[in-house]
Amino acid sequence: MEVSVIGSSQVNNLGRVDLRYREVGLCSFSKNLNFAKISSPKYSGLFVGQSSISWSSKYLFPLIVKASATAQTEAAVTSEKASGTRRSEVDNNLMLYVGLPLDAVSSTNTINHARAIAAGLKALKLLGVDGVELPIWWGIAEKEARGQYNWAGYLSVAEMVQKMGLKLHVSLCFHACKESRVPLPEWVSQIGESQPDIYFTDRSGQRYKDCLSLSVDDLPIFDGKTPIQVYKEFCENFKTSFSSFMGSTITGISIGLGPDGELRYPSYHKPAKSQGAGEFQCYDKNMLSHLKQHAEASGNPLWGLSGPHDAPSSKELATSSGFLKEHGGSWESQYGDFFLSWYAGQLISHGDRLLSLASSTFSDVPIAVSGKVPLMHSWYQTRSHPAELMAGIYNTVNRDGYEGIIEVFSRNSCKAILPGIDLADEDQPKETRSSPESLLEQIIFSCRKYGIEISGQNARISGSPSGFQQIKKSLTGENAVDLFTYQRMGASFFSPEHFPSFTAFVRDLRQPQLHSDDLAVEKVDSAESLPEKNVQMQAA
C-alpha cells in the first residue's frame, strides 16, 4: 500500500487540533501503514476479512496464449467417429462452460446481481472459459399468460455474454426450481389447482408440483392446447426472439425433459435422508388409465389396476420390499417386466416427443440441441437397480435401460448432458450401494454406440481439489466428453475457498497446451460450429 499525499496531509491537518487528538490521529495513521503488512500474503490466511478477497497468486496460473499455428488446428481435428476411441488425455477440443446463477434473471425480468455477473463473466473470459450456461425458466419468460413471453432479462444476459465474447448455452426449463424459488407459470399452477392430475403422483397420492406429468403431454389441458404445443410455441418464440444470437453467441440449447430438466420421473425428489430409492409415479389419473388400457391390450387386465402393490415407499429400504428385493423380487417376474416396460416406455416416448419438438424447432439454426439424462446412481450395485427403475429407467442386471433412451437422442440428433461427472464412488454412502462411476460408464458406452455427443456437468460445487480430480478423470481417457459445464456461478463459486481450486482446475485441464510453449493461436472461428473443429483461444 502506498502512502498517498492525502495521507500525509491528513496528518498535517490533524496536527492542528488538540494535542490529544493529534496522538490519536498519528496512531490511526500509523495503523494505515500497518495495514500494508496485513495485506501481505503472510496474513491473508489469518484474517478472514482479508483472505476472503485476496487469493494468493500461486493458485492462479499463467494464461495460455496460443500463437496462430495452423498445424495444431489440423491436429486437433478428429473425426466424429474416432473421437470416442482415440483420446488419451484431455483434448484441446474440450469446451469449458460455467453455469450462470439459477436466479440470474429475477421473476420481474431484471438481472439479479448484474454487476457480479458482469465481473464474473469477465473473470471467466480472462480465465479461458469458453462459455456460460443460462437457465431460462418457463415460470419467468412466460409468466403472465400463455403466449405472453417476456425475454427482456434473458436478452440482456445474452447481450452481456456476447459483449464479453463468450458462448452461451441456454437451458429451457419447463420445471420449477425450489432452490432459486422459480415456480411454474401461475396460469399453469392455477390449472393444477382444479386438475391436480396434471402432476406426477405417487401411490400415497402425493403430487409433485414442479413439473407436469408426462401423461398430459398430448392432452389439451390449456384451453384446448396440449403441453407439447405450449412447449413448442415457447421454443419457437425463443428462437425468434434470440435470432440475432443464434449460432454466434448461442451455440446450444437443452430442452427440459422433466424434474430438474432430466428425463426421469420425479421418483426421488426429497433430500436423501432415508435409505429409500423413491417411489413409482404412475398414480395420476391419466397414467392409471393408460396403464389400464395397456394391460387390457396385453391381455392381463388385472395388471392394469394399479402400480406394483409391493413396491417400497420412499421411506423404506429400497431392496426390502417384495417388488424390488434383489433376489426373487417381482421385478424379475413377468408382471414386473410388463409394468417396468410400460413405465419406462412412457418416459422414453415423452423424451422422444420433446426432443423431436426441439430438434425440429431448431433445425434451421446452427445450434446443438441437448437433453439431460439422469444419473440415478444409488443402488446401482444391486441387481434390481431400484432407484433407476422408479425413475423410469428399466435398467437392471439383466437389461440395459439406457440403450432405448440414447437411441431416442440419436434419432433426434440430440446431444446428451450427463450430470454428476464429479461424483466418485468412494464418496458415496456405502449403505446405498451407489456407483456413479460405473453408471456413467454404462451411459457413455451407450452414447458412444449411437455416436451421441456428450456434455458433462458436475452435480455440485466442488469443495475440494479431489472433486476436481474426479471431474478431470471423467474428462480424460475413453470417456472424454466434448463439453463440460461447471455448475455454477454464485457466491461459493467465487469464494476464496473455491475459486482458486477452480482456476487450478482450469489450468490443469489446459495443461497439455502449455507444452507448446507460448505458441499462440489466433482463434480460427470457423463458420462451422462443430466443436471438434474449434480450437480454443483462451485469451481471445
Binding site: 490533524l14 487540533v17 503488512k37 482479508q50 485476496s54 458482469a118 457466491a491
Partner: protein
C-alpha cells in the same frame, strides 16, 4: 485498470477498516467540543492544557462510485463515471444552560437547550452526597422529565429535548429538570447526544457538570479549598470565554481569581445562572464529481474532464500512474492553467467556475502510455474529498483500438461496458504482443507481464463477484440444512475456536521470568513440543509489567518483559510456527497499572502509547477513583480495572490486539481474569482481532455445602457457560469445574462424581465441549504458587481423563518436562491417532467409588481409578494403548 478494479480497492479498504475501527470512526465522528466551563480544579492531567476551540477538521470523506448514474456517453468516451461526494458542512449553534429558581428557595429548575435542529437527547445523571467512586447515579423519579429513559448500563437517564421557539421565532430545543435542593444531590452531570448521528457533545472531553451544593475537595493545591464555590456567578459565561483563551499554565490563576470574585455564599444556597457554549455540528451534504475521459483520435491523447457541483474553490490534487502500480507521478509538461506543483509529488489545479452556473470544471490532456489519472479534491486547507478513503483512480486506456460498438449501449450496462473496453484492451495488447514475434524469446517476459496483469484482474473480478453474490446469499438455500451442516458453521464462523483438534501446552510456569531469557529457552524446546503432539502453545503475558510474571501490565505496547525482548518473542513465535504450533498470547485486559497519580495522589493516569486518563478506570473500585462507568464484572483489587464500556478503551484494546497479531504473529489469546468484565466485550475483541483460538480464564469457586464439594456443580459450570455465551461462543473457557471435580474424585476416591445426573461429564465439557478448555494445573493453581494444587501423584489420571475426553486439553509446562513426559506423549498420540476432538462423544461406562470408565467416539476406551474395568468386545476389538498408575487407555482395532 478498469472501473471495476477501482471499486474493488474500495472493498479492500472497507474491510481493512473493520480490523481497526479507529481509523474511519475518526473521520466521521463529529468532533468533540472543547470548551472550558467546569468548576472542578484545573490542575488535573496534562491533557487539559490545550484550549484551542477548533474541532478537528481534517475530514476524509468518502464517495461511493455510482456507476449507474453515468453521464451521457459520447462516441469516443472511454470512461465516464459520476462519483457521489459527501461534503462536510459545519453548522454553528449554541448550547445553553440555565439554572432558575422555582416557586420557592428549595425548588429549582435546570434548563438545557440547544439551538441546532436535530434529535437531541440529554444523557444525564446526578451525584449524591456521599458518592465517592461514582459520578453518575440515577436521579429520583420526580426529577425525570417526561419521556426520560433509564439507561441501565451506565446509570444514566436519557431525556429528549423538546422543540420550542425563541422570541425571534427561531426553533430551539430544550429540556427542563426540576429538582429540590433537599434531596441531597450535589451535582448534575450531563452530555448532549445527537440521536441522528450518534455523536456526543461533551465539555472539554468530559461531562458537563452543574454543582448544586458546596463542592468540597481535598486537593490542597487549590487556593480557597473548602470554600463554597458551587455557585455559578452570572458572569460565568464571560469567565468561561476568558478561560478558553487562556493558556493551561494560567488556568489556576484565573480560576482562583474567579473564586475570589465570587460573592461568598452560604452552603446549599443556589444562585441562578445562564450561560452559553458554542457548538459546532458537522453534517454531510451530497455533491458529486463526474469524470470523463475521451480519446482524441488524431493525437492519441486522452482528454480528461472533471466537473463537480461543489461550491467554492475546488482544487484537484492530482498525479498520474505510469504503470499498473498506484504510484503518483508527475506528468510531462505543460500543465493546465492554474496548476501548481505541490512538493514535487503532485499537481494542484484550480477548477474553473462555470459562468452563471454552480459547477466547476477542468480539463486535462494526458499523454498516451499513462495507465491512470489519480486525484483527490481539496476544498480548503482542512477538507479533502476522496473516493471512500482512496484516491480517485481513473484508468486510462492505452490501447489504440477502441470498439465503437460499446458506446451505443444503454447506460444500465455502464460498468460492464467500460470494463469490457478494458478487457478488450488487454486482449488486444496480448494479441499484439503475441502476433509480433511469437518465437522470439525476449518477448516471453513481456507476455508474462501481461499474464500477470490478467491474473490480478481475474482475482479482483472474482473478489468483486464474490462480494456481491455473498451479500445476497440469504435469499435462498435456507431450506436444505441437514444436521451435519448445522454443526459445521459453528466451527467456521466463530472465530477463536480453532479446528477442534488442538492440544494446548501452557508454555511457562510461575518461575519462568526468573532467568530473564525464557523466550530463548523455550525456543530450544519448540521442536520437542511439536513432536510431543502439541498444536498450540500458550506464552506468558508479553508486556511491560509491574510484577515480573507479567500479570500487572503497564505499557501495553512495550513488549520487553522479564521473559525476554520483543525480538526474542518474535523469533520464538516464528520458531513455533515453523514447527507447526500456533501461539496464544496471554492478554491481560481486565486491569492495567497506571503511570501517574491523579490530583488526589491516586495512581489512575496512564502513560505510554495508550495514555488514558481516569475515565478508563471503572468507577466502583474506591481504591482507584475511576471516572468511568461501573465495572461490568468482578473487580481485581490490585490494579485499576479498565472500564471496557468506554468506546475509546475498546478501540485502543482492539488496535492493540490487532497489532499483536500482526507484529508478533500471535494466532490467538489466552484472556486473563475475564470475570472482570462482560463477555460481550470479549466478543468485540475477538471479532476485531480474529484469532484462530481464544480461551478465557473464568475462575471462581466451586459450590460447597458444609465444606463438602457438591456433587452437582451445575451452577458453577453455568457461570462459565454464561460467560462463553456472552462472548457469543467466540472464545472457549478453561474448564475449572472439571478440574475441581477431578480433585474430589481422585483425592477421596469419589470417582462417581465424574458422571453428572444425565450420565455426562460433570464439567463444562459435558455441556459445551467445543468451548471447554480442560486443564488440571496452571501457573496459579500449581507451580510455586500452589493456590489449588491437583492431588499429588494423581496428575496422570487427570491427564488420562482430559486427553481422552472432548474439550481442548491443556498440559502444564511443569508436567511436560517431568517424569510424566513419556506417559503424556503416549496419551497425546492416542488422542491424535484416533482423531479425538473437542466435540467427540463420551459414553460413560462406569462411575463408581473407585473407578471411572468411558468410551470416546467408540474408538478409545479409558478408565481411571484403582477399580476394575475392561472394555467389552463388541463390534470393536480393544487393544491396550497405554497405561500407568491407576489408569488404562484402549484403542479399538
Amino acid at each position: 485498470m478498469s472501473a471495476v478494479a477501482t471499486e474493488l480497492l474500495v472493498h479492500y479498504s472497507l474491510r481493512r477498516r473493520t480490523l481497526v475501527p479507529g481509523i474511519h470512526a475518526y473521520s466521521r465522528r463529529a468532533p468533540p467540543l472543547y470548551l472550558n466551563c467546569t468548576r472542578r480544579p484545573l490542575s488535573a492531567g496534562p491533557s487539559l492544557s490545550s484550549f484551542e476551540l477548533k474541532a478537528p477538521k481534517a475530514l476524509t470523506l468518502r464517495a461511493s462510485a455510482s456507476t449507474d448514474t453515468a453521464a451521457v456517453v459520447e462516441s469516443d468516451v472511454v470512461f465516464s463515471e459520476t462519483f457521489s461526494l459527501k461534503r462536510p458542512v459545519k453548522v454553528e449553534g449554541k448550547i445553553t444552560i440555565r439554572l432558575v429558581n422555582g416557586k420557592d428557595e428549595e425548588n429549582w429548575q435546570l434548563i438545557v437547550g440547544c439551538s441546532l435542529p436535530g434529535k437531541w437527547v440529554l444523557h444525564w445523571g446526578v451525584k449524591y452526597i456521599g458518592d465517592v467512586g461514582s459520578e453518575w447515579d440515577q436521579p429520583p423519579p420526580e426529577m425525570r422529565p417526561p419521556g426520560s429513559i433509564a439507561i441501565k448500563v451506565d446509570y444514566a437517564i436519557e431525556s429528549p429535548l423538546e422543540k420550542s421557539s425563541t422570541l425571534e421565532g427561531e426553533s430551539f430545543y430544550e429540556v427542563k429538570i426540576d429538582f429540590n435542593t433537599n434531596n441531597s444531590i450535589t451535582a448534575i452531570n450531563f452530555v448532549l447526544k445527537d440521536e441522528d448521528s450518534g455523536s456526543w457533545y461533551q465539555h472539554r472531553g468530559r461531562d458537563f457538570k452543574v454543582p448544586l451544593t458546596e463542592y468540597r475537595h481535598d486537593d490542597g493545591n487549590v487556593v480557597g479549598a473548602k470554600k463554597g464555590f458551587g455557585i455559578w456567578p452570572g458572569a460565568f459565561g464571560q469567565l468561561s470565554n476568558m478561560l478558553l483563551k487562556s493558556e493551561g499554565a494560567e488556568n489556576k490563576m484565573d480560576f482562583t481569581s474567579c473564586e475570589s470574585k465570587a460573592p461568598p455564599q452560604q452552603n446549599s444556597r443556589l444562585e441562578g445562572f445562564y450561560e452559553e457554549h458554542p457548538i459546532v455540528r458537522e453534517t454531510l451534504v451530497d455533491n458529486s464529481v463526474t469524470v470523463s475521459v475521451t480519446q482524441c483520435p488524431e493525437t492519441a491523447k486522452n482528454l480528461l474532464y472533471i466537473e463537480t457541483d461543489l461550491p467554492g474553490d475546488v482544487i484537484v490534487h492530482w498525479g498520474v500512474c505510469k504503470d499498473k502500480g498506484r504510484k503518483w507521478e508527475l506528468p510531462e509538461q505543460p500543465y493546465p492553467s492554474e496548476t501548481k506543483v505541490f512538493k514535487n509529488k503532485a499537481l494542484r489545479t484550480l477548477l474553473q467556475r462555470k459562468e452563471g452556473g454552480t459547477c466547476s470544471s477542468g480539463s486535462f490532456t494526458l499523454d498516451v502510455g499513462l495507465t491512470a489519472f489519480v486525484f483527490a479534491l481539496k476544498l480548503n486547507e482542512n477538507t479533502w474529498l476522496n473516493n471512500m478513503g482512496k484516491d480517485f483512480y481513473i484508468p486510462l486506456s492505452s490501447s489504440r483500438v477502441l470498439n465503437k460498438e460499446h458506446s451505443q449501449s444503454h447506460s444500465a450496462n455502464k460498468t460492464k461496458e467500460s470494463s469490457t473496453a478494458y478487457t478488450d484492451g488487454i486482449i488486444n495488447e496480448i494479441r499484439n504482443l503475441v502476433s509480433d514475434i511469437a518465437s522470439e524469446k525476449s518477448r516471453k517476459t513481456k507476455i508474462k507481464e501481461a499474464q500477470e496483469s490478467i491474473l490480478q484482474e481475474i482475482e479482483k473480478l472474482a473478489a468483486e463477484a464474490y462480494s456481491i453474490f455473498r451479500s445476497a446469499i440469504p435469499t435462498f438455500t435456507e431450506e436444505e440444512v441437514s444436521e451435519a451442516e448445522v454443526l459445521k458453521p459453528s466451527v467456521k464462523i466463530a472465530s477463536g475456536t480453532g479446528s477442534g483438534f488442538e492440544v494446548v501446552c501452557q508454555g511457562f510456569n510461575w518461575e519462568s521470568h526468573k532467568s530473564g531469557r525464557w523466550y530463548m529457552e523455550l525456543h530450544q524446546k519448540a521442536a520437542e513440543l511439536s513432536s510431543l503432539g502439541f498444536t498450540v502453545v500458550w506464552l506468558p503475558p508479553p508486556t511491560e509489567s509491574v510484577s515480573p510474571e507479567g500479570y500487572m501490565p503497564k505499557d501495553l505496547y512495550n513488549l520487553n518483559s522479564r521473559y525476554g525482548s520483543i525480538d526474542e518473542l518474535k523469533s520464538l513465535v516464528k520458531r513455533f510456527h515453523e514447527v507447526g504450533i500456533m501461539v496464544l498470547g496471554d492478554a491481560v485486559l481486565n486491569h492495567r497499572c497506571a503511570h501517574y497519580k491523579n490530583q488526589n495522589g491516586i495512581w489512575n493516569i496512564f502513560g505510554g502509547r495508550l495514555n488514558w486518563d481516569d475515565r478508563a478506570v471503572v468507577a466502583d473500585d474506591p481504591h482507584f477513583q475511576g471516572r468511568g462507568n461501573k465495572s461490568s464484572g468482578d473487580n481485581f483489587h490490585a490494579a485499576p480495572n479498565i472500564d471496557h464500556s468506554q468506546e475509546f478503551v475498546r478501540k485502543d484494546l482492539k488496535e492493540w490486539l490487532c497489532w499483536l497479531r500482526q507484529e508478533i504473529g500471535y494466532d490467538g489469546w489466552r484472556l486473563d481474569f475475564v470475570r472482570g468484565f462482560w463477555g460481550g466485550y470479549v466478543k468485540d475483541y475477538i471479532d476485531a482481532s480474529e484469532p484462530y483460538f481464544a480461551v478465557g480464564e473464568y475462575w471462581d469457586s466451586l459450590n460447597y455445602t458444609y465444606g463438602e464439594m457438591d456433587h452437582n456443580q451445575d451452577a458453577h459450570r453455568q457461570r462459565i457457560v454464561d460467560w462463553i455465551n456472552a462472548t457469543n461462543g467466540c472464545a472457549g473457557a478453561f474448564d475449572v469445574t472439571t478440574k475441581g471435580i477431578l480433585h474430589s474424585a481422585l483425592e477421596r476416591y469419589e470417582y462417581w462424581r465424574l458422571s453428572d445426573e444425565k450420565g455426562k461429564p460433570p464439567g463444562v465439557v459435558g455441556w459445551w465441549p467445543s468451548r471447554a478448555v480442560t486443564f488440571i494445573e496452571n501457573h496459579d493453581t500449581g507451580s510455586t504458587q500452589g493456590h489449588w494444587r491437583f492431588p499429588g501423584g494423581k496428575e496422570m489420571q487427570g491427564y488420562a481423563y482430559i486427553l481422552t475426553h472432548p474439550g481442548t486439553p491443556t498440559v502444564f509446562y511443569d508436567h511436560i518436562f517431568s517424569d510424566y513426559q513419556s506417559e503424556l506423549s503416549k496419551l497425546i498420540s492416542v488422542r491424535t491417532r484416533n482423531k479425538i476432538h473437542c466435540r467427540s462423544i463420551v459414553k460413560v461406562m462406569k462411575a463408581e467409588r473407585d473407578v471411572y470408565a468411558a468410551i470416546i467416539d467408540e474408538k478409545v476406551a479409558m478408565k481411571i481409578g484403582p477399580g476394575y474395568y475392561e472394555p467389552q468386545t463388541g463390534p470393536q476389538k480393544w487393544s491396550l494403548a497405554t497405561e500407568g498408575k491407576d489408569y488404562k487407555v484402549w484403542e479399538a482395532s
